[in-house]
């Protein structure tokens, strides 16, 4: 497919953006609750996978 052939449905994308934001906020709430209900060692181990993967040794 060529760039010129790509159709962009802005209305559809806007709906996606709203849904995506809602899901992100839901995850923040879920994760905050996870932190409150699990041991520090547990949640930090998971968080560290994300952080350590982005920093070079």
């Amino acid at each position: 497919m060529k760039v010129s052939e790509v159709k962009v449905d802005l209305e559809e994308l806007k709906k996606f953006k709203i849904q995506n934001t809602k899901e992100r906020l839901e995850f923040i709430d879920f994760w905050a609750n996870y932190i409150k209900t699990h041991l520090d060692e547990d949640w930090s181990k998971q968080q560290n996978i994300l952080i350590d993967s982005q920093i070079k040794d």
Binding site: A32, D40, S44, N48
Partner: protein
């Protein structure tokens, strides 16, 4: 995580990541400082990384700064703005400078003199975070949440909601909402004029 508001202390048994170790390595060189902004949320569990850690220190004269700079360099950090001592100090008097491990600009410490009343409040009311392998001083949670609401860009609701600063504020609020001082929190909310943004925390 145990937060003792009276003692201004958080005990955190978290496993350290590379960012935490980088920060501990740096703050080990300092007596007086406070860490503010994004890394505070990350240290307290937010699921994101950052390229910089914002750190405030009390103003000092040239000689004191050069002594500190020597220690910082001795630990393998370099100022990524310039290598000339005088220029580093002149910059620091005007704005933040950045320190990183030699040859690795990310992550870095955004290093700034305390200038504003908010900076001073953060410093004077800092919370000590006790980790298994060290300690750090961070800004009060109440101020952090309000400040993060303030930092978020303007725009339509869906744009504001997806801003990382709103997400940081929401994370801290959800984790600490039963423990923060609501009166103090609302004072900052009003001072920063972000009352309308409180809805993004709920």
């Amino acid at each position: 995580m145990e937060y003792n508001k009276g003692k201004k202390e958080i005990k955190l048994n978290r496993e350290l990541n590379k960012l935490d170790r980088f920060v501990l390595d740096f703050v080990d060189l300092l007596d007086d400082y406070v860490i503010v902004s994004g890394y505070v949320s990350i240290l307290l569990g937010r699921s994101r990384a950052t390229e910089d850690i914002d750190l405030l220190i009390p103003e000092m004269d040239e000689k004191e700064f050069y002594d500190l700079l020597k220690k910082i360099r001795g630990r393998g950090f370099e100022c990524i703005n310039t290598s000339k001592e005088r220029e580093i100090f002149d910059m620091l008097k005007e704005h933040a400078i950045r320190f990183a491990k030699i040859g690795r600009p990310i992550p870095n410490i955004e290093f700034k003199f305390i200038k504003t009343d908010m900076d001073r409040y953060s410093y004077e009311n800092s919370i000590k975070v006790i980790l298994n392998q060290g300690k750090m001083k961070i800004s009060p949670i109440e101020l952090q949440i309000a400040y993060k609401l303030f930092l978020a860009a303007d725009g339509a609701d869906e744009e504001i909601q997806s801003d990382k600063d709103i997400e940081d504020a929401r994370h801290l609020y959800k984790v600490f909402n039963e423990k923060i001082n609501k009166e103090e929190f609302l004072i900052f909310i009003n001072k920063l004029n972000v009352r309308k943004r409180l809805r993004f925390l709920k």
